[in-house]
Amino acid sequence: MNGVLRNATRPPPDAIYLDYQATTPADPRVVEAMLPWFTQRFGNPHSTGHGFGLEAAEAVETGRAQIAALIGAEPREIIFTSGATEANNLAIKGAARFLKGRRNGVVALATEHKCVLESVRDLGREGCEVEILPVESSGLVDLDRLDAALDERTALLSIMAANNEIGVLQDMAAIGALCRAKGVLLHSDAAQAFGKIPLDVQAMKLDLVSISGHKVYAPKGIGALYVRHRPRVRLEPLFSGGAQERGLRSGTLAPALCVALGEAAALAASEGPEEAVRLAALSRRLRDGLAARLDGIALNGDAEHRLPGNLNLRFAGVAALDLLAALPDVALSTGSACSSAEVEPSYVLKALGLDNESANGAVRIGFGRFTTEAEIDRAVTRIAEAVTRLRSGLA
């Protein structure tokens, strides 16, 4: 990499990273577990004719079991993918294409991640009946409304366990019961929820669950899809070839990345509950600190049912892009990273009923495992100063 980045914009050394919903730093313990699998233990896990391949295959299976254990699944129900986007595409297109002709309906919430909405739209072009459901101003779906949208023609419902912009947690157990009663497959994009809040595929009756590595302290380039075995969920693959991953996802697996996601899951299993408590305290500290210094702060999304490491706030009279520009040493965002460069207001916030001006005022603050109290305090000071300055017109 020498020279490649000579002129790059590096964040200042004291920068505060508060964009954990865009991507998390890789945990050093995860990195330590994965690195040997690139060099010393480099076998192709599908080359089972020799020891190199066999040890790589064993490592992949250990990772698979660690991921399964975190959500109450069996190891064989976990399919490795290149990330949550692929997992979402595979789950939604795969299930709907398999069921086409028997059940043609696909239902999703208006606040789903773009890759879910685009997958659903692709299916619409292929002849599926697509319904996009609104949410309440809290960001939660109304269960009666959801119930009314599902019938014997519905193949699949896709609902995010935790929203990537506003952190809202849907009642997956209640939704799962609704779906099971109507024979509708339930897919949940758990990219933000996996490892952050308890997920149980049995208790919640989830049929398909998408998982991302780089949102849970593993690297980018790895994800997984839970595919229920009993009753069996069948999918049409997105691509074919060597028939790895039970034919659902061809291509050579990356043992280092599978080890990393497994290790991240194991760390979340052992440290997650304690971490959630610490993050909830940081969240209170951040909100209380800002409220003590500023008026006119509003929280987007339900106050109670939300990820512990997410706040989505707006400061009356202040445009989010101005605030971000005034805080070059604090990494915040206006919404999902995929749409960071867009000037349109967030469709998620619009779905909560916010007008353009309010939606353009929203700032996503994401924090996690490596965020310290001192960083939160510094962020509070920096944000409060910037908001005050912008409100006084002195920016």
Partner: protein
């Protein structure tokens, strides 16, 4: 399982160790945190790394000016994207393509190969002329099992004359022999990082200028909308570092052919009834496909593994399967002969002592075969 460190690994076409420069680039990128789509500095730094890597890979393969390089999760995804993305109603592919090309579309026309393992150009020309609908020809630059190098420039000339696009699966070729997309005139080229010393889980599809594709996986608009999903930045940085190193070492890599040829001569001297596949044609310098008639591939692989040498029956993906190789069958091998073949693929660090170990272990197998034959 004995410790692999005492093994001689001769299965580099399945995967090869990550190069130290690539491992360093991966580790360096893992230590940073940023999503290339984020607008803050951490995100912009990630974006710069991504684009620097893209430029490096594009330059290494001779991407034509104005062309596009799309990063994927690997060669399989790149092949599928190429075959299903152009929307061409006719797909023509050779009989020796990788499973990821063979399985990508169900209605492809199969073009036979010569006994030496190169595509039958007359058959290709006839197939192109037989149907005037817009076509895509998919042919690999070099075969993963035999190492036979395909006449890509000639294939491009025939295809272009018929108005067809050419997709070239260059996964085994790039980093082993010279490859220049612009000079060859191919329209789409598939790459994989882990075959040339980059990490598994990364690949790319290169597109000639003006070519547009339908995406396989959508969402987020990354990779110009051709491939949604947050890019595997550490992996991509490792890919770029590895391909630059591989290209720089290409002249030295060609010396592996001397070792390989010596090995093949020794094997034939030990057992004149052994059969080499594709040896009459230009081949990758590191690959050898050799059959020991009468002994199954599985038995040979297990015996060699016990002797401390790792080889394979063919492609790693189908390692667990027992059916004979479609590549060797297409070259005219009987099912019995194809079932007795192994692939020996050398790596950049393979030395004479590794070859000696293989030859000694293989000669024990040849003796076993003689004894079996004598008893029969």
């Amino acid at each position: 399982m004995s410790s692999p460190s005492s093994f001689t690994y001769l299965d580099h076409n399945a995967t090869t160790p990550v190069r130290p420069v690539a491992a360093a680039a991966i580790a360096e990128t893992l230590a940073e945190c940023g999503n290339p789509s984020s607008v803050h500095r951490a995100g912009r730094q990630a974006r710069q790394r991504l684009e620097a890597a893209r430029d490096a890979v594009a330059q290494a393969i001779g991407l034509p000016e104005g062309g596009t390089l799309v990063f994927t999760s690997g060669g399989t995804e790149a092949n599928q994207l190429a075959l299903s993305g152009t929307g061409r109603p006719r797909i023509l592919r050779s009989a020796i393509e990788h499973d990821s090309v063979r399985e990508a579309v169900s209605n492809a026309v199969e073009i036979p190969v010569e006994p030496g393992g190169t595509i039958d150009l007359a058959a290709l020309e006839a197939a192109l002329a037989a149907d005037r609908r817009p076509a895509l020809v998919s042919v690999m630059a070099a075969n993963n099992e035999t190492g036979v190098i395909q006449p890509v420039a000639e294939i491009v000339r025939l295809a272009q004359a018929a108005g067809a696009l050419v997709h070239c699966d260059a996964i085994q070729a790039i980093g082993k022999i010279g490859f220049n997309m612009a000079a060859l005139g191919a329209d789409l080229v598939s790459l994989s990082a882990h075959k040339l010393g980059g990490p598994p889980g990364v690949g790319a599809l290169a597109l000639a200028p003006g070519l547009h594709l339908a995406a396989l996986q959508r969402g987020g608009g990354q990779e110009r909308g051709l491939r949604g999903g947050t890019e595997n930045l550490p992996g991509i940085a490792g890919f770029a570092a590895a391909i630059l190193a591989a290209i720089a070492e290409l002249p030295k890599y060609q010396d592996l052919a001397v070792l390989r040829d010596t090995m093949e001569r020794e094997l034939l001297a030990i057992e004149p009834e052994a059969a080499l596949f594709g040896a009459t044609q230009p081949r990758l310098p590191n690959t050898s496909s050799v059959a020991l008639p009468g002994l199954s591939s599985e038995l040979q692989i297990m015996a060699l593994d016990l002797a401390g040498v790792g080889v394979s029956a063919g492609s790693a993906c189908s390692s667990g399967k027992v059916r004979p190789s479609h590549v060797l069958s297409a070259m005219g091998a009987t099912p019995e002969l194809a079932r007795s073949a192994i692939r020996i693929s050398l790596g950049r660090d393979t030395g004479p002592e590794d070859i000696e170990r293989l030859v000694v272990a293989w000669s024990a197998l040849a003796r076993r075969r003689r004894a079996k034959k004598g008893a029969a």
